[in-house]
Symmetry: C2
Subunit: 451 residues, 2 copies
Amino acid sequence: MSLLDDLRAAVGDGHLLVDADVRATYETDWTGHVSAPAAAVVRPGSTDEVAAVVAACRAAGAPIVPQGGNTGLVRGSVPAQAGEVVLSLSRLVDVGDVDRATGQIEVGAGVTLAALGAAARAAGFDAALDLASRDSATVGGAVACDAGGARALRHGTARARVAGLEAVLGDGTVVRRLSGLLKDNAGLNLPALLVGSEGTLGIVTRVRWRLVPALPSRVTAFVPVDSIAAAADLLGELRANVPSLEAVDFLLPDALRLACEHYGVEAPVRDAAIHLIVEAAAVADPTDELAGVLPDDAAVADDTAGRARLWRLREGQAEALEAAGESHKLDVGVPLPRLTEYLERLPAIIEAAAPGSRPILFGHLGDGNVHVNVLDVAPDSDLDEAVLRLTAELGGTISAEHGVGALKARWLGLVRGADEIAAMRAVKAALDPDAILNPGVMLAPPGAPAP
Amino acid sequence: MSLLDDLRAAVGDGHLLVDADVRATYETDWTGHVSAPAAAVVRPGSTDEVAAVVAACRAAGAPIVPQGGNTGLVRGSVPAQAGEVVLSLSRLVDVGDVDRATGQIEVGAGVTLAALGAAARAAGFDAALDLASRDSATVGGAVACDAGGARALRHGTARARVAGLEAVLGDGTVVRRLSGLLKDNAGLNLPALLVGSEGTLGIVTRVRWRLVPALPSRVTAFVPVDSIAAAADLLGELRANVPSLEAVDFLLPDALRLACEHYGVEAPVRDAAIHLIVEAAAVADPTDELAGVLPDDAAVADDTAGRARLWRLREGQAEALEAAGESHKLDVGVPLPRLTEYLERLPAIIEAAAPGSRPILFGHLGDGNVHVNVLDVAPDSDLDEAVLRLTAELGGTISAEHGVGALKARWLGLVRGADEIAAMRAVKAALDPDAILNPGVMLAPPGAPAP
């Protein structure tokens, strides 16, 4: 049989998509990038069907691109080469009951973060991980990229939420660890290796998610600060003195201005070198805890509408940027002690690589995660390389939470040693011996030129 | 040069131990088990020296057993075969400063959990992971076994605390990820694979540890409950209604009696089918939160001495057991929905395998982690096999937090599929191609008989 026949047998006729019109949405990612054409899109309805798709693709030597909500920025979820098979997890949307005794819930990989959060809240719990892209981004995608968002400061990234998972490895092995045992170190922890592996080792199909208790009292503050260094000091004070601290995001002035103009609102506080959005959540009102540490000119909201108004200036950045035109988007991380230097040097680096462009900078201060967005960039600029080189020079990472994807694979050597990358390749070969899972993502094809 | 000459060159004359008398403490684990004689004990003083030891042993084909505090129960840190080299991490005891902005501290692998906790507290933070063996157990050992202890209920196991680490892999590669970036998914997360790998893939030399805020108000309750099922229900209520919940351990009646007799004290509450030790910690006194959920006949302590008296009945189990004679110790986990059945069937299984023996059962209810201790067991009993088979039958794990070691390696197939174990072997071969790291630990030698 042909590959398409095998895929049809695996998932059923209605879930094999071959028409170009129907494929198009699966071949276009969140940034608007249109990929190479897929051989087909398959939408398996169970883990067994995922395994059957993997078997069919292995037999045919056809590469597979696993796809969740497709909200990535690095071309990790659309075909890099013509003829790849897009494996959409969009039908794995089963949401289990919250297990109150363990504080866990089992969900399909295609469940959105919004749906996960709603299920948790309905049972008096909290999913602990949330992203602005929550209505599209999926649990499987968050796990595959080890996403974190703003609340990783308190709760850790997706890694910390995975109490178990089920996945189909590149060699066809089904790893099934869904007992919900928080402590289970019988054998190598293959699930932990899969978290953040960007679909290069296996395809996550189900996740057992560790919830946290819902905290009824939540306060948000918008804080003007006069230097990055002072912001880092304030972060230290908050960490030490506000146990209910949940998030510390930041906006540089141009980003704040962009959002204010887009939404037609005044800035909530005075001008400053950097603005922080600080959130605390607790059983009892955490306002007093915060008040002891925050400056008097912070704007504080403890009601839902007021909090949403403050957060919109941060979470609405993607929307405001989209309205302002096409933007380059790089998701990087820099250790806090180097962040001042990074943010001071970055504008000149950007201007040199993309003259006349407009950097819009914001991110998660608590973990040094900077979302570098640049408007008005000429198509042939060397912006990515220039920004990633500066990031690496200051001990940072070329990917904080979006992954390396195909877009950044050739720069992985900036932040990982050659022998460590060789070790990664050896692990990849061990679990995906036919190299059919997401080829070219994370690990550049052997022999590809180094930057 | 000979192996010993190479090792001497690697670590210096004073840190190569070859005399049988000096080696003896390194060849005897916490259970009193005396291992096969080591070729030598080496005590490297830096990561570079660890790498030099690995190189020397690779060249000579000599297996290495990494050793931390040697508090394990499964023969994972002493030689399984004569001629292995014990690599003690006991000189890697550097304790860095707490980085307040990130809430992290960098420590050598040989630092004890007690020292880690003290350093955290001195800076107004909390290490979040604590074990009864804290004065001996090391950070490196906790990471290698993904240990969790009582407070994993709230804070997760060691895995959740690792913000970065440095390790020497079996192939000599040094993995160094100490930037402290909470979000850094550039490439496969080899550190996450190393957590819980029991020294079979690499030797952890340094760890960047994620602290949590210190919580000043701490309350402990000792709670009599009339059935395991009722205890699981109470756990669910506590999870949902007590956000400050930190630990829920348990003791069955024989364990409580043993500790009371050993310490010469009365039980703090009435007789019951199971006793829970519940701990909550918060900024403000969590007594009211707890009071709404706990039964009236619980004993509650919010002062240091009172709390210590209650916890001693649980943490003193190892000491009480030691005073009572030699005991078999198995660390297993069972999903909460099956725990009633497990604890009901276990005594008969134990009696059949070891007639006349005395089971002493306690553990961490929050994660279904049961420490099975049995006194008065005949040397040739099949107790381990009988207990592990029941555990696996009920969907549990043969190792919760102590690891598989050499002792349980032949039973790994009870809880992991043959293809998943094959995948583990492939990963092992990728990172330790000469198979010199902890051979026989976790993964039984190929061809060893299945149970």
